[in-house]
Symmetry: C2
Subunit: 367 residues, 2 copies
């Protein structure tokens, strides 16, 4: 008999007796405010997936010897719920997150799960906590699915027990301004044969100190370069895209290919798809090096550079520090106060219009 | 006023009311049996280190949004307590573990701690649970200090709250036999600019699947190769050492240098020091490639190869699979049943004799 998989019809809901007050949109900062409830689904190798449970948000009881606390057996996702003008709450391409979570979890030997049923449970959680979905354009309810290995066992085998859980955090705009990046070729976020293309917790801890170091220097985030040719990979919380006139004189939107180094971002994929639909310029996934970018800046061929990710949606890059020198990146030459470049803004608006239900699209999935 | 650091004199001890039965040495397997108590020391940026606490072993209450569960802000150590014939319980070079834990924790922005005071608390924990220190040569009490970021905050800054905790597991011999390694050049455990030289949980999760895959092929562990020249790095749970006649005709004990890729093992360091004291052959920390090793095997110059680490102490390698071919490594040509090669066994015996108090040494530190 096959073991039970996740079954949304068995969902148990226990509501909190101490609901939190509503959050004021103005005071929201990313990832610090949580809602009333969380979703927990336990797995054991012996009995498969247990009945999903929505219960009050609160501490998890984790064995000191659990895989997650010793060997970082953990993977996560980032998604958002958006409130449309008519009150509908939409998720954005959630099946891409389900698929990526599945891919990431298999990489660290966490058990397989029914993606459809898990998504159904997430929708139920969002419905239970729907009062926390902000009703303001640009604001949303961030959804964090976490998948952790909970078996207490120091043997480097695999975790025979696991917890898949989801919690929610109402958020405002992540970077409501342009950002300055610091190109780092000394440390590496990811490498060939590594795990940079999986959303594992272990990719993030090593990036904290380098990130804090560049903040101390007055920059916002790191632009991760790789190898001797200084291949431009990603920002770590965002994929990185440039819009330029390439060396062949063509207008081109280009970002790093999914070569095993790069996180396959849902926003990245969506922006590339939108731009390809337009068909107005070349859209490429290929490796670009920092020296190529510097040449383009020097030649006046760099039009815009921006980051893309679920948390930030998009954000324009106004400056990149590289090998002792700071390079200005155009944002919007027609408007010195612009927070987004023209192409960045057009992509952003099209995406937000889908997410907030202004433009009908199969990418918006009502809860 | 400086914030309070760890203060062993403030240690609070709460003993369990449900002590576990003694373990039978014969049934011990690595890292599955835990003792009655654990040590917990909490930190907050606001108030510094709280009073250390020894309390019954049990689940930790961790916020779902804690850094450790989302971004793998976690580092650990592995140490052992050994019971000497006269009943004394020794730690082995514990200050090296304290220093490495400090180095690892700074890499992921966990707070600094007083190494001496923390070690004092660990000694107290071992004393409280001393009945679990096995009284048999080759058996010991494994000590696992874990250091985790506990602040609930999804921002990729650093964790302003942390928990340093220690738990204990009585263990028997890790590999009571020779091991077969599978050389892996397709995936990478570590990388220049990466974090392979720090004992971070995030280095271990990505190695689980590759390790299970080679177990399914009949091998014990992976020998991690790096780069196009297939530099022989380490085993992942052990450093890797070879004893050979090098291409200049010299007898040489050689292991990978501490070049940022390699975990700086305490056992590795100790074995190199012992062999250097003997002064009988060359002892080198330098890069060796897999093709060089294959040539030495073909020429009959390979004498022994072995892994070294706290969990296993040493274990001889009898076979390495590389690029479609299996290569036999000599263990002890004079004894087909030998589990250790002659040099490996001599190093092991000298080390164990220090650890179990047979040979007086400043490396053995009584609790």
């Amino acid at each position: 008999m096959p073991q039970p998989n996740i079954d949304a019809s068995k969902l148990k809901v226990t509501l909190t007796e101490t609901p939190k007050p509503d959050y004021d949109n103005k005071t929201l900062s990313f990832g610090k405010n949580f809602t009333d409830h969380m979703l927990c689904i336990k797995y054991t190798e012996e009995n498969g997936w247990e009945a999903p449970e929505i219960k009050p948000y609160g501490p998890l009881a984790i064995d000191p010897a659990a895989f997650v606390l010793n060997y970082s057996v953990e993977t996560f996702e980032g998604m958002k719920a958006y409130r449309a003008a008519d009150g509908t709450i939409n998720l954005f391409r959630p099946s891409m997150n389900m698929q990526r979570l599945s891919t990431s979890s298999q990489r660290i030997k966490l058990p397989e799960f029914d993606q459809e049923q898990f998504l159904q449970c997430i929708k139920e959680l969002v419905k239970v906590d729907q009062r926390f979905v902000p009703d303001q354009y640009g604001y949303s309810l961030y959804i964090r699915p976490n998948f952790i290995g909970t078996e207490p066992n120091l043997n480097l085998m695999y975790s025979k027990e696991a917890l898949l859980y989801v919690y929610l955090s109402p958020v405002g705009p992540y970077f409501p301004r342009t950002v300055k990046l610091y190109a780092n070729s000394e440390q590496a976020r990811a490498w060939p044969g590594g795990v940079g293309n999986f959303k594992l917790g272990g990719n993030y801890a090593p990036a904290l100190k380098p990130a804090m170091d560049v903040v101390a220097k007055g920059y916002d985030q790191i632009l991760w370069l790789l190898g001797e040719d200084h291949y431009v990979t990603e920002v770590g919380t965002m994929n990185f895209l440039i819009f330029w006139v390439n060396e062949d004189g063509e207008k081109e939107l280009v970002t790093a290919p999914l070569d095993g180094i790069i996180l396959p971002g849902v926003t990245r994929d969506s922006l590339l798809a939108l731009a390809r639909q337009w068909g107005e310029f070349k859209v490429s996934e290929r490796r670009v090096t920092m020296p190529e970018m510097i040449r383009a800046i020097a030649d006046g061929r760099m039009l815009e550079a921006f980051g893309a990710g679920t948390a930030c949606v998009v954000c324009s890059v106004s400056e990149i520090f590289y090998e002792g020198k700071s390079y200005a990146i155009p944002v919007d030459p027609s408007n010195p106060d612009a927070v987004f470049g023209p192409l960045t803004n057009r992509l952003r608006t099209e995406l937000l219009d889908i997410q907030y239900g202004k433009t009908p699209s199969p990418w918006a999935v009502p809860v």
